[in-house]
Symmetry: C2
Subunit: 344 residues, 2 copies
């Protein structure tokens, strides 16, 4: 008769974690009031709020954000997708993003594509599945599937690093112009045999854009614009190695325009080890404005890109947008600065 006694209830609670209902009960209010006390403190009486907070403290309640997100379909999670973590440039942008976003109570979900657009698509799919509040990705290029997915997504998308026609928000700088700027500097200095050295330009296509700018200026001055493309990723070692390669391949080289400061500094230090005079025998220029460039002798001529600032600005724009405010600008150019050192 008592065979199917209802007390033998199924228990699925996996852990003994304290729930909001328990907090509510301990505080003598309904669960929904407890919820409000924590998330909309101004919509609850002082006494209710106090007793809820006291119960939270006493029971050691930790809100289940997964449940909250499901119910509200808002997650306070922000997806950040970068192509590399080895390259300090992206880390600095992340730094800027993080300090701003964390201050506003957002968490970062980090993804690394290793410069692979298919991998980016996979990451985007996963991140959309987490109902992220927004997505930040490095670059304006995506594969078709990724583009479609993002175009139909109804949350802010921020594309950083480069400047151009983006899907939604965009904070970056004009890499073609940066390439032009440095090439112009080298030409002005009187160099005529100038080699551009980059690493994996198909992947690091922003370095390729800088080369385009570089090439345009040289062509306009009636100068050839030879390119040496390395197959390894940019690093001090790669820069050091590339120096010999360039000098063998183009013996008359007067100046080398490197795609970034790691390569440039590596080459500069290697040149010195080999007894070459910089810039007398060979002039060297970089891109990024890493601190290292200011500590070598002579100082490295480079283009300073405001990376942390770019991250902070992107985060602020995003927060403004998430707050429902009109966006100040859909596109923001953070610019760059030519930093002339003794190396040219």
């Amino acid at each position: 008769m008592s065979k199917d006694f209802p007390a033998a209830v199924k228990q699925r609670r996996s852990s003994d974690q304290v729930t909001l209902s328990q907090v509510a009960q301990a505080a003598g209010v309904s669960p929904i009031t407890a919820s409000r006390a924590l998330n909309h403190p101004d919509k609850v009486s002082d006494s209710a709020r106090r007793s809820v907070l006291e119960a939270v403290e006493r029971l050691g309640y930790v809100p289940n954000l997964v449940a909250g997100s499901l119910a509200s379909s808002r997650s306070r999670l922000i997806a950040v997708i970068v192509p590399s973590l080895i390259n300090t440039v992206f880390v600095e942008v992340i730094k800027g993003l993080q300090e701003t976003l964390e201050a506003e109570g957002y968490q970062i979900l980090l993804g690394n594509t290793d410069y692979d657009l298919d991998r980016e698509y996979q990451l985007v799919r996963t991140f959309l599945g987490w109902s992220c509040s927004a997505l930040i990705t490095a670059g304006l290029r995506h594969n078709k599937a990724c583009h479609t997915l993002l175009a139909n997504w109804d949350h802010p998308i921020m594309e950083v690093m480069e400047l151009g026609k983006g899907m939604d928000l965009n904070v970056g700088l004009d890499h073609v112009a940066a390439g032009r700027c440095m090439a112009g500097h080298l030409v002005d200095k009187g160099y005529r045999h100038i080699v551009y050295v980059g690493a994996r330009l198909a992947q690091d296509y922003r370095a390729g854009m800088r080369y385009e700018g570089h090439k345009a200026v040289l062509k306009a001055n009636g100068i050839e614009a030879p390119l040496v493309e390395l197959t390894t990723l940019g690093s001090l070692q790669a820069g050091a190695d590339s120096l010999a390669q360039v000098l063998t391949q183009y013996p008359h080289t007067q100046a080398i325009h490197f795609a970034n400061d790691d390569l440039a500094a590596g080459a500069l230090l290697a040149a010195q080890r080999q007894g070459l005079n910089v810039p007398g025998d060979i002039a060297i220029a970089g891109f990024n404005g890493l601190p290292l460039g200011q500590h070598v002798t002579p100082r490295l001529t480079t283009i300073l890109s405001p990376r942390e600032e770019m991250g902070r600005l992107a985060a602020k724009e995003l927060i403004r947008r998430l707050g429902g405010k009109n966006v100040y600008r859909r596109q923001h150019d953070v610019g760059f600065t030519l930093q002339t050192g003794g190396s040219t």
Copy 2:
């Protein structure tokens, strides 16, 4: 009469996102079979699996991971907490973690404490709220509340960077021994006036541990072990600045043992700019084994710590544990290597 017509149903579906039920319907199976087709493909017939995958593709279904996590209380999210992103050391560990974890389908939730243990506690609270599968944090020191929270948490905890009695799993190296190692090297080389230079040792307490090892060796050799503590964070610039400070404060200094390579390289480059001979006038040693140290002349004597390897190993141990397997070791010493350069 038709005033309260039941068709006027409350609609809370926020977006028009495709759900698993819709996929199931399109595939002609029940929702649960669709779920299995995606998450446990081997528990479903080939035909069912095929039609579900086809429907997924056709409808552009993106799984709602929030809902899945709530239902299963498993999230495939792994919290990673580091004290800093400026310091490349942590980034390299993250790199190692990420490449291993992403390959296993885990996502990283990144938190940055800025060397503040209260901030760490806040981050841990948040991350526990996301039902993370595991938590990785840099260091063995936590504040009381954080310790309590973690001790009662029933998921793996991995403490990296340093070696010692941790809460659960631990992968790192012995910083006191590393300090001893370098100090021993300097003493062996015949230096007697040796200054240790670190930045904010209360925060970067692992550098403090290295100083302890350093001090012990010097004391054992009857040598004083003066300490110069910088108030800024470690950087090339700070290293450069510290050189003058050390030489003013301790004019007889023969060797400087820096807490890390950034400081050491900054000082080395500064010494050269000032026409000081390294190691003739002043010997310089660092810690970490950053690439930069191998590109300056003379090469920097340093201690190589396997940072990416540490991340990879930590991730592998964690994955093993999450797979329910017995843990190979609760504690794993990744060791370090003295790298002798010309700078000492």
